[in-house]
Structures are given as structure tokens and as C-alpha cells.
Symmetry: C2
Amino acid sequence: MPLCVKPVRPDDLHAFCVEAMLKAGMDRADADITAEVLVATDTWGTYTHGTKQLRPLLQSYRDGRMDLHAKPELVGQGASWATFDGHHSMPMPASVLAMTAAIDKAHQTGIAVATVRNSGHYGAAGYYAHLAARQDMIGLSFTNVDPCMAVPGSRGPVLGTNPIAYAVPAGDEPPVMLDIATSVVAASKVFALRDVGKPIPDGWLVNADGLPTTDPTGYPAVGALLPMAAHKGYGLALMVEILTGVLSGGAFGNGISSWGGGPVAPVSQSHTFIAIHIAAFEPVADFKRRMDELTRQIRSAPKAKGSDRIYLPGEMEHESRQRAIEDGMALPDHVMLRLQGMAEDLGLDLIRIYGQHAAGGATRKERHG
Amino acid sequence: MPLCVKPVRPDDLHAFCVEAMLKAGMDRADADITAEVLVATDTWGTYTHGTKQLRPLLQSYRDGRMDLHAKPELVGQGASWATFDGHHSMPMPASVLAMTAAIDKAHQTGIAVATVRNSGHYGAAGYYAHLAARQDMIGLSFTNVDPCMAVPGSRGPVLGTNPIAYAVPAGDEPPVMLDIATSVVAASKVFALRDVGKPIPDGWLVNADGLPTTDPTGYPAVGALLPMAAHKGYGLALMVEILTGVLSGGAFGNGISSWGGGPVAPVSQSHTFIAIHIAAFEPVADFKRRMDELTRQIRSAPKAKGSDRIYLPGEMEHESRQRAIEDGMALPDHVMLRLQGMAEDLGLDLIRIYGQHAAGGATRKERHG
């Protein structure tokens, strides 16, 4: 039987996460932003990067890897650029601040870039790209990650899984959104299988000898992820490392520490956000009509044998979110275990994820009709 | 015995290509820029995208796919953006113009983006990125390509091989440069093997039934390339399609025609260039020192069994260029055949690739020393 005994409404999960962050000592504004990022990610079905991450994030403050009371600081800016120092604060508010700065500047000039140094695990890269798309912009989002990925010719970890995300608004069709690790898979997918005792597919990891393995138990202390498409994923991960850690004036390569394991050290990830103002180039309605046309072209292409549908990037997430808003979410066990652990850490009732009055037996939906 | 009987100096190959373009009716300024792009690409060892492309480019003018006498036009601009209409002119001058505009604007604002619509095959995407790196900027370069790649769930071509390129300056170390198709391989690599009657490795192509094949003979009329890393390459190819064709107001998806085969129709590729002004963020010397540090970190990582060197992206190309400048280039047969064909098309002496006075038996090096 699954640990999640009934569908969880996004609003209730948000309230539970805010409660946890307030209990941990965060202020309400930052807690609200952080919960919004994590819960939105869950609604997309990207459970590896959603509220599951809140427990280790709060743990990283208790460990001293990050600073619960710090605030991000704008340390430099110009017409189309801005640099923030996260000062090891919660990464989600710092990241929303930076993407918002990029969006504001792009409104004036056509494109803008903002970096954040001295930050940590910012969750799903795609969330910040989607903030730009909601403002009728093309959004790009990148972060470096502590080294956990081999590169062609290396034995062990050299670069992080350094994700690339983008989002683009459409008209009647769903926005396009992609959020990919530059490794074959995200480390969180290895952890998700490792945590439930399952082997991983071949081609995801190398072991301590640099040889392929299906055993994730030693990872990340031992072994390394493989880059997607060999030298191509390596080259793109390096692009992300340069756009984030090097350009931001932050840490890069082996200067970044794990936010969730290993020796306790400042995490020091860096993020970079780019916003492109569509209206500078053409009327937004024309752009969206063309996005709809491209979407329909792709969707209606002849299907491969055994396939009856072609998905656009972000389409599954869009549909998952609609279902989550309407029907709530059946959170997977690996998420529930983390939320349960966080509740125990902080002395909260996990049952509150089912609604503010869940302890009394009624969900909000039942109460309202 | 190889067709290239002695090393070809880059300057001599440049002069030969300019001569061909003048004979075909191009003006000298555009011919010089185009030769520079193609010969630089050969010096990097990227022979699939170098002077080999000049014959089919000139053929595409004779066919009416492009317009030899057209000039690119600036049709819109702002503080950090510009849009050009290529009017089906030679793509290299239009692309250099657009990247130069992006660089100039980024000097003022920190980052800028420029698009070109109604263009064609612009050669190696990395060339334009490298123009920005030479100006102490981070350069990005993208182009859409006529559909020749399947996407997950499709039977035939849906998107082009839409490349992504970037270049970043370093200090004492070589600049980093990546130029990758978002397909498993570039179409030109299939053509290079097809043209010499060799099979291709498994996993590059699907046949007319959507099934994997090692037979390239029918391609591109039949079959489709596969995207790198499945949905990841698909998503990145779509990002390029949006940043180029959709954002530029140009053609996209099945609105793009092949520049080198199939029915004669306007090519209508679009390109997008982004330049990021490093000096806005930090002193360039600091940035370059950090790039050197990152390069050395990666290069000195423990090696995998059977590997004795880790290359940075662009390092092989950098070394190839040094050798080409010092010792000349042994052009591969597939390049020589194209140059020979072009010489026949235009009534030129192919022997001129060995130097202006090659017919007299002396290379310039011999003459000067």
C-alpha cells in the first residue's frame, strides 16, 4: 500500500512546507517563494526535485552548509546584466530574485542575464525558466552542481550534472519547457532507485574503476554519472559551468561542495538566468501563433511503429499539473518518506499535507462542497 | 594514394576559394569573409563543414535556392537585440554581420542577441561563437536546419540537426569551443561516409520504417537521423528551432528547405547569435585566470583505464589549427573531390590550392625561405 493514502492538494502541501520552514526559522516571504517552487515542481510530476528536497535543504542549514538568516545581495548590474551574491541563503528566493531582475531588464533592452553565486541546490531549473515564459519571454536557466559526473577520459567525477532548462510561451498550446541534466540521468533519479533498493539501468554510472555498473549503493561516495551523448554532454556541462560558476565570480569545478552529503562545507553553487523579450522581435500574438503552428506540426508528424503520440517538451508536465490542481497528487513513497522525516525533525504532523483540518478528517474540498 | 599530394597552406586555400567566388559573381568583400569562415573551419580539422561546402553553396545560387546578389538587411534593433533579413544572400557574411552587431551591443549593455532569417547553410556554428571569444566575450551560435531528424515517437524527419555552439576565451590555455549537432551525428558525417561507400555505425539513422539502419545510401531522401540522448537532444533541437526560426520571424520546421538536395526551393534557415560581455561581470584577466584554472582542473583529473589524456572542448581544433598554420593541411579525399568538382564547374585550376605559383612548382613557403 502506498504511503500517500489520499490525493494531496497543492495548496495544502504548500501550507505544510511553509509551516516547516517557519518552524525551522525562515521568514514567511522566503518560505512562501520556496514552497511555491517546490510544490509547482511536484505538480509537474517531477517529484525528484519537488518538496522531497525540503528536508535535506533544511538539514543543510542545521549542518552549517548554508545560512538560514542570510539574504541575497545585488553586487553589480548594468543595462542587461546583474550579479547577485546569495551569501549561502535559501537558493529559491535568490533565484527568483535574479530571474525577476533578468525579466525586468529584458523588458527594456530585449535580453538580459543575471547570475547568483554562493548559492545552493535551487530545485528544478525549469521553474525559473517558466517564470520568464509566464511574462511572455523565452527563459533559460542553468546551475552548476558539485562534481559527480565523469567526462570522456576521466576515471571519476569532474563536473556536476549541470542542468539546462528553457521555457517558451505558446498560444492555445501548452508552453514548451525542457529541464534536463547534462548527465545521462539526474543524480536524483539514481538516489530515487537507490533509496528503495533497486538496481539502475546500464549506462547511467561508472564504478570506482571507471567501469559501467548497475549498482547505485555506493553512489555518490563512489563512482560517477556519465554525461549524455558522451563528449556532447561533457561540452554542454562545461558551458553551464562557465556561464554559472566562472561568469558569476563564484565557485566552479571541485570548488563546489555537495549540499546533501559528504564533508560539511559551503555549497557554493552558482546559477545563471537569461530572459529574451519576445515583443522586441515581433508582436507576441504572432510569436505565439507560430509556436502553436510548430507544436501542431510536430505533434501531427507520422508516428513510429508502436508509438501513438509525440509529446512536446513540457507537455507531460503541463498535463500533470492540470490533474494535480483538479484532483490532487498521489505523492510517491520516496517523497512521502522525506516529508515524514521532515515532520519528525521539526515536530510537525505529516497528516497536515492532506489539508489544514485533515486531523479532523475533512479535506478542504470536502469542506467546500 | 590520397588526392591531396602535398600540404595545403590556409592562405593558398583562401585565395583559391576567393577566386572561385569571384568567378561565380560574388563581390570581393563577401568572398573574403566566406573564405575566412570555411578555411578557418578546415584548419580546425572540421573538414565536413569547411571549404568542402563551397561547391554546393555556389550550386545553390545557380539553382535559384539563394540569391547571389542579395545583401542582408537590418530590419529591427534595440539596445541589446537586432534582427537581420538575409534575403537569401550568402549566409557567412550575413552571419558575421549579425554576430558583430551582437558583440557591439553587448559591449554597451552586457549581453545581446541578433537573429538572421531567410539565410542558408552558414557552415560551422562554432566559427561565429569564436568571433565573440576573440573579443573577450562568451559567444553562442545556433541555426535551424531543414528537417532530417526523427524525434521520440516520430517515424521520419521532424526537426533539423540544429547545432549549438559556444566559445569562451581563456588566458594561457586554449579557448574553449564546442560545436555540436543535436542529432547523434551531423548529417555531413553521414554524407562523408556515404560518399565513399562506407556503412555508418548503428544508432545514427533510422530507415523509412523508422527502424535503425547502418546503410546511409538512401539518406537524406529516405530515413532520418536520431537525436542525441533521445528526448534531451529533441528538446535542445527544439530550443534551437525556437531561438532561430520562430524568434527571427523566419521559417521553421517543415518550412525550411534543403540547401543541397531535394526540390529547388528557398532555403530559409535562420541563425541566432548571443554575445556576453565578460568585462561587465569581472575583470577579463580574472575571468581568464579562472578559465585556465578550470581547464587545468579538468585536464589533470585521474584518467580512466586506457585513457592518457582528457581534452577540453575545442582543444583538438586549437592544436589542429596550429599545425595547419605551421605545416599546411593534408585535405581528405572527400574535400579534394569537392574542390576538384568546383574547379571544373568554374574552369579553375585545382592545383592553385597549393599556392599562387604552384603551377610553376614552387610553394610560397619555398619562395620565401
